[in-house]
Amino acid sequence: MTCTDFLSQLTDYFDGQIDAELLAEVQGHIAECHHCHVVLDTTKQTIEVYRDNEIYDFSPELQSRLHATIMSRCREVKVR
């Protein structure tokens, strides 16, 4: 397996949608190729750091403001 082959399997590998034979090849490549090992590891960290950190502020104030507007608009629809 070349580094390019590895890269083309990366998405399926993360999603666990890879058959056993290919999985063994991917794992074999990572064991031997430090570059791809690093790419795999840091890509995994990229996903995790975005998943774990709420990066946009959603304050209780904003929430209750949105909430109030949404519900008043919904009630308007119902009245009509």
Binding site: C3, T4, L7, S8, L10, T11, D12, F14, D15, H34, H35, V38, V39, D41, T42, T43, Q45, T46, I47, V49, Y50, R51, D52, N53, E54, I55, Y56, F58, L62, Q63, L66, H67, T69, I70, M71, R73, C74, R75, V77, K78
Partner: protein, 215 residues
């Protein structure tokens, strides 16, 4: 009304767990605004986050959140119980967001080149490990700045796929459906989004000792 009768024949009972949202949607369809209010409370953060990620604009995200819920409320009859309510709602929010993005594109004539390529054009260049991990290197606010800055730099098409797939945990199929893309197209964009984001973050997180002197 007769459909809601509690006397269901025993042999038609299926041991499939019914999502609590299905009951809330049914009540909301009957005009129970409190039931819909509950759904708003459950998903407002998610809808806002999707809109903010896609548009990268706070005011737009607020408007979209309001519009998406109103649209969902008006179209509640079109909701098929066979998909998750949250997925259906996210799809509405995505549509609203993309519409907003297109409008902005034409009005401001800002180039939002999506540079969609299906080949492996973005072979990683940065092979340095990250030290020790992003959370340990930066304070919360600094890390937040970095994460916002790096995702902002992604082409909108990649950012959207990454948001739905990796942040909101939609399946590849659900993401494809929400964006009107084929599954291979989603996979291709997702790979490139992940790699580009990784490459951008590497500037901040890489281990200095393995890369020698900094330029």
């Amino acid at each position: 009304m007769s459909a809601a009768s509690p006397t269901i024949p025993v042999d038609t009972l299926v041991p499939v767990e019914i999502h609590p949202d299905v009951a809330l949607v049914a009540r909301a369809k009957e005009g129970d605004t409190a039931a819909f209010e509950q759904l708003v409370r459950q998903y407002d953060r998610q809808v806002f986050r999707v809109a903010q990620h896609i548009t990268q604009n706070r005011e737009d995200a607020e408007d979209i959140t309001q519009d998406a819920f109103l649209k969902a409320y008006e179209k509640l009859d079109q909701f098929q119980g066979n998909s998750k309510f949250s997925t259906w709602l996210v799809r509405i929010a995505v549509n609203e967001s993309l519409m907003r993005l297109r409008k902005r594109k034409t009005s401001k004539t800002v180039s939002m080149d999506e540079n969609v390529q299906t080949d492996e054009g973005s072979i990683p260049r940065d092979f340095a490990d990250w030290s020790p991990n992003p959370e340990q290197q930066f304070g919360t606010s600094e890390l937040g700045d970095i994460l916002r800055k790096t995702i902002q730099g992604l082409p909108p098409g990649f950012r959207t796929v990454f948001t739905l797939r990796d942040i909101e945990n939609l399946s590849t199929e659900e993401t494809a459906e929400a964006l009107g893309l084929s599954v291979p197209a989603v996979k291709s964009r997702l790979l490139r989004a992940r790699l580009q984001l990784r490459e951008r973050l590497s500037r901040y997180f890489r281990q200095t000792k393995t890369e020698g002197p900094k330029p």
